[in-house]
């Protein structure tokens, strides 16, 4: 254990721990990419990482800045066309874990990355869903990583970009979905899991130094805490050094010559 880490580092490392050698992950840019690669470089060397650009089984030495960086293709087992990626690999049910993030998230793991305000007269036009609508329903399970803030953790979404547990309970099953949906939410403050029945996200562990008030103040709905609320194990030296080395290599690669 080490005493010196940031909430962001804790979030990334907590996410990496949830991954195993047998997982096939659909990786997004940012925290998911860092988490997956930390897992690959520590306890899960056999994990399969897939980016939606078509790169299967990548092992990037530095974190990509886009989902289609050359590094991903160069280190991949194979690179397929994007229609094949979405048809055979995602829709085909071959991805065990998909990572998603959100502009707005509700207590049931539903996600909005499309628009703030009315769709036709938006206050803020966000990038949109990209791969998320089908990642949310086709992957075996969904992990969400996101920094807590009341702006993002909302009582009600402005737009359902991708479906989590809907209104909770058996809503997924009622829509014919056979995948598990969001099973893990990892923030800069806590680790959350859905209640087995209601599917409402419940804080199951808080990171070191975090209080219940801090979790509640950054969340727009009334937080449920687990009866057996734990402290998230802090990053180990290995986890932290692996993450930091990865980030340093990434910075060096990007600074080393113009723009790469």
């Amino acid at each position: 254990m080490t005493s010196d880490f940031t909430p962001n580092e804790m979030m990334t490392i907590a996410a990496s721990r949830a991954l195993s050698n047998k997982d096939v992950c659909f990786v997004g840019i940012g925290a998911p990419s860092a988490a997956c690669n930390v897992a690959r470089l520590t306890h899960a060397p056999e994990i399969t990482l897939i980016y939606e650009s078509g790169t299967i089984g990548t092992a990037p030495d530095v974190l990509p800045l886009s989902i289609g960086d050359g590094e991903l293709c160069e280190t991949a087992l194979t690179t397929v066309a994007v229609p094949e990626m979405f048809r055979y690999w995602l829709q085909g049910g071959r991805i065990s874990i998909g990572f998603l993030s959100a502009a707005q998230l509700d207590r049931f793991g539903n996600i909005n990355t499309t628009v703030i305000g009315d769709y036709r007269k938006p206050k803020v036009r966000l990038p949109g869903g990209g791969g998320a609508p089908e990642i949310a329903t086709s992957c075996g399970q969904i992990f969400i990583t996101m920094k807590q803030a009341t702006r993002g953790f909302v009582e009600k979404l402005d737009f359902y970009t991708s479906f989590g547990h809907g209104d909770g309970g058996d809503h997924r099953q009622r829509l014919g979905l056979k995948t598990k949906g969001p099973t893990l939410l990892i923030t800069d403050l806590a680790v959350w899991k859905p209640d087995p029945e209601s599917k409402e996200f419940t804080a199951v562990s808080m990171h070191r130094g975090v209080t219940r008030d801090m979790v509640q103040e950054t969340c727009g709905w009334k937080v449920r805490f687990s009866d057996r609320l734990e402290e998230t194990p802090s990053p180990t030296e290995l986890e932290l050094s692996t993450l930091r080395d990865l980030q340093r290599r990434t910075e060096l690669a990007n600074g080393g010559k113009k723009g790469q």
């Binding site: 840019i29 939606e52 650009s53 078509g54 790169t55 990509p64 800045l65 886009s66 989902i67 289609g68 960086d69 050359g70 991903l72 293709c73 160069e74 690179t79 397929v80 066309a81 994007v82 229609p83 990626m85 979405f86 048809r87 995602l90 829709q91 499309t114 769709y119 036709r120 938006p122 803020v124 036009r125 966000l126 990038p127 949109g128 869903g129 990209g130 791969g131 998320a132 609508p133 089908e134 949310a136 329903t137 086709s138 737009f159 359902y160 970009t161 991708s162 479906f163 809907g166 809503h171 997924r172 829509l175 014919g176 979905l177 990007n254 010559k257 113009k258 723009g259 790469q260």
Partner: protein, 281 residues
Amino acid sequence: MAKFQSLPEAVAENLHDGDIAAFEGFTHLIPHAAAHEAIRQGRKDLTLIRMTPDIIYDQMIGMGMAKKVVFSYAGNPGVGLLRRMRDAIENGWPRSIETLEHSHAAMANAYEAGAAGLPCAVFRGYVGADLPKVNPEIRSVTCPFTGEKLAAVPAHRPDVALIHAQKASRRGDILIEGIIGVQKEVALAARRVVVTVEEIVDDFDDLHPNLCILPHWTIASVAHVPGGAHPSYTQGYYARDNAAYLLWDKISADRALFTEWMQKNVLDAGPEVFAARVEGL
């Protein structure tokens, strides 16, 4: 039957006002030089299709060329939002644009269906999502064997596709390598295809048999534009200019700065500037 032409000729011959156009390339091989030529030629009322509108459509929208944009992710990859596209949607500057929004899966399937000559694509998608409520082109068919309701979207059949690739042979066959995205599908879905290439080689005789190749008889025009994907990249030739993507976030944040930048770097330039831009990448 591929014609070898200058980029201005190729664009003038194949891209017309009011066309449905798709400039494709999934992070890799984005046809920046072709987009800049279209901007210089002042095409207007275009319907622009593209999975990730990206800098090129931000520029074309900011220059008022787009009537409608069909897309699935309107972001500056790895950076943030597309500020010119937002300004058009939120404030109608320099003109209001219509948008038709899909998921990546829908867009990829729609290109696939276009290449396959089908009227629509059928896939498992949009379950529980709100997009079908705001996009009337998301419908459904029912599997006649299981009763499952599947999503259906119209096939993309652009009037013209513009793509960038590594190599053309002297016959006009096109080789695309690395992250091949939807390049083959958009080319086969389109009525006319314009390709900019890094290099022209004698033939493809010694290539592996299973590479991504478009035969010359599927291509309308080939233009030799080294560096033509910059600041996107061409595997085997030059790397992605991430600094330029970051810089775009600043340029596009301000209408005046944008206008000035476009004048200097696009309107007053030509396809030949791209080769210099990728030196050292």
